[in-house]
């Protein structure tokens, strides 16, 4: 709520309830409430059935999420999820350059310091 500032516990609950009425789970949204406010590029797992956890993106298991870093890589390569991995669309397009095959080269995926 922009025009009311919640001050006690009950007010915070009312505020959360009101916020929940406005927002929706972005990836599964049926209609975009306000495209200008929510720039969202659904390119991955939540918009379509996108393998990556059960089978890899080619339908096999070679590129499956093992080791753990494979998860991150999948988010990077096929999904836009900048909160968890460096975003390859704008700032870190080279992040996976040294990682040709995730199952072998995953150690080359490093953290970034924005």
């Amino acid at each position: 709520m922009k025009h009311l500032r919640p001050l006690n516990r009950k007010a915070h609950r009312i505020d959360q309830f009101a916020a929940a009425k406005q927002a929706d789970v972005v990836g599964l949204q049926e209609k975009r409430v306000n495209p200008a406010k929510l720039p969202h590029i659904p390119a991955g797992c939540s918009i379509a059935f996108f393998p990556g956890w059960e089978v890899d993106s080619s339908g096999g298991v070679a590129g499956l999420c093992q080791p753990m870093e494979r998860d991150l890589y999948d988010c990077f390569a096929d999904c836009f999820w900048p909160a968890q991995v460096p975003d390859h669309m704008n700032n870190y397009s080279d992040w996976a350059k040294k990682c040709a095959a995730a199952t072998q080269d995953w150690r080359n995926l490093d953290v970034v310091f924005p």
Partner: protein, 477 residues
């Protein structure tokens, strides 16, 4: 943008208040508290004054310089908060507390005997509800253990248990108190639960050994005392001798030696004891109490010691001065001993919305020396108000009747009162003494309650603006 984009609405129930130049709203019945932007304040003022429609509202607010978009957004926020109601909003349904509500607190009246004869006492005075004839004067070991067992069962797995010892004069049965602490502590330990204790006393029987025991077992102590010597004229022994000189040195010792829990003073205000500031200074500065709480005596109207209207006004003015002091302290993060404010802030912080004024007969029960169960300590030994016996458990029909009559929905006079989320009609015992019915709203003090609640709201608003961290301690209460 046209007026049509503003959702239609009517005023909900709320109370507007200000603190240090800012605007706030207290929502009824939810108990939510919000700070308002100037537009929100204007809209609520407008909605309260008139049932004009949204076009009028826009015209009115545009005049004072608000943009339509801001008005539109603000109305939406106010509807979401429940301050404004969309057309056709149904009234809140009646919600009863769940059946077999677990007991949270047990009061054990260890004895109905007292070594003082305070003139205004609800247990012995003119307005007493107790009928102790033919009942035991002191609780025995067997009854106390059965009461604790009853409490453990009725608390249904509640992790944190709380037992309060009461009287009569509690310390007249100190040997049993020790036994109960021992028994209940071991029982709690064996069940992996936590238990703590507190007691109320007139302090006449305190000894160094008793004080050591209370400190070692972290037993909270509330002392009934009405202020400096001249204010204690009604707190006398049977032969009329005053009690102040006896208790003053004992209280000093108690405050020196017992540091494991805050020690509180509880003042009963009567016709000649209304000098709140003087009493407060004496009890805090001269004696050293960390908490001081005040309550006007419970009495029917015509008693000599009943407080008249103009004296209650003076009490309110003095409460307001102390509340201001409290606020200044809170803003600087310091403790202030005026517990009437602390208690209300805690309820405001948590946004209570009470179905009943207190836990009596719900989460709270008292057991007297005879093993009778009552809604709270003030109804102990009263046949009319008994809710069963520990040998047979709570009489659910009687409990239902007590809770039904005490429910806010039964108190029609309260239904348009903005203070009802906190007050809920006030003390059942006071209602019985005044009106002969525990379910009657205490209409003799409504203006007072609303004025005082408004004061506490302002304190809350100012603290939440200037030192919100201070309020976090209420999270756990």
């Amino acid at each position: 943008m046209s007026a049509a984009t503003i959702a239609p609405f009517r005023a909900g129930e709320f109370h507007l208040f200000t603190a240090r130049g800012r605007d706030f709203v207290y929502l009824v019945p939810s108990g939510g508290i919000f700070e308002l932007t100037p537009a929100a304040r204007q809209i609520l003022d407008f909605a309260q004054r008139t049932d004009a429609d949204s076009e009028d509202l826009i015209a009115h607010l545009a005049n004072v310089g608000f943009a339509e978009l801001e008005i539109e957004e603000t109305v939406t926020d106010l509807i979401d908060a429940g301050a404004l109601l969309a057309p056709g909003t149904a009234p809140e349904p009646r919600i009863d507390p769940p059946k077999n509500f677990p007991l949270q607190t047990l009061v054990l009246n260890l004895t109905n005997q007292c070594n003082l004869s305070c003139k205004y006492c609800y247990e012995y005075g003119d307005d007493k509800v107790a009928t102790p004839e033919g009942k035991p004067k002191f609780m025995d070991t067997e009854t106390s253990r059965a009461a604790i067992d009853f409490y453990f069962a009725e608390s249904q797995g509640t992790k944190a248990l709380h037992v309060t010892f009461f009287g009569g004069e509690t310390l007249m049965n100190f040997p049993l108190l020790k036994e109960v602490v021992d028994y209940a502590t071991n029982k709690a330990k064996s069940e992996g639960r936590f238990i703590d204790f507190s007691l109320t006393t007139n302090a006449t029987l305190l000894t160094p050994a008793i004080i050591d025991f209370l400190a070692a077992n972290r037993i909270g102590v509330t002392v009934s005392i009405d202020g400096p010597p001249e204010m204690n004229a009604l707190r006398v022994y049977q032969n009329g001798r005053g009690s102040y000189d006896i208790i003053a040195p004992k209280i000093k010792l108690l405050l020196e030696k017992h540091k494991t829990r805050p020690i509180a003073a509880r003042v009963t205000l009567t016709a000649d004891v209304t000098d709140v500031l003087k009493i407060f200074r004496h009890l805090t500065q001269d004696m050293g109490f960390q908490e001081v709480g005040f309550a006007p005596v419970t009495t029917s109207e015509n008693r000599l010691y009943a407080i008249g209207g103009s004296k209650m006004d003076s009490v309110l003015e003095q409460f307001k001065l102390l509340a201001q002091e409290y606020l200044d302290a809170a803003v600087e993060g310091r403790h202030h001993a005026f517990s009437n404010v602390t208690d209300t802030l805690s309820e405001l912080y948590n946004g209570v919305n009470k179905s009943h004024p207190c836990g009596a007969g719900l989460g709270l029960a008292a057991v007297g020396p005879s093993g009778d169960i009552s809604p709270c300590h003030r109804f102990v030994d009263s046949d009319t108000h008994s809710l069963g016996h520990i040998s047979t458990g709570i009489d659910r029909a009687k409990q239902d009747d007590f809770l039904h009559r005490g429910h806010i929905n039964q108190k029609y006079d309260c239904h348009t009162c903005w203070a009802r989320p906190l007050c809920a009609g006030g003390c059942h015992h006071e209602a019985y003494v005044r009106y002969g019915d525990t379910g009657h709203p205490n209409l003799h003090y409504c203006d007072w309650i609303r004025d005082w609640t408004d004061t506490c709201l302002s304190v809350f608003g100012a603290i939440s603006t200037h030192n919100p961290v201070f309020l976090e301690k209420f999270e756990k209460r």
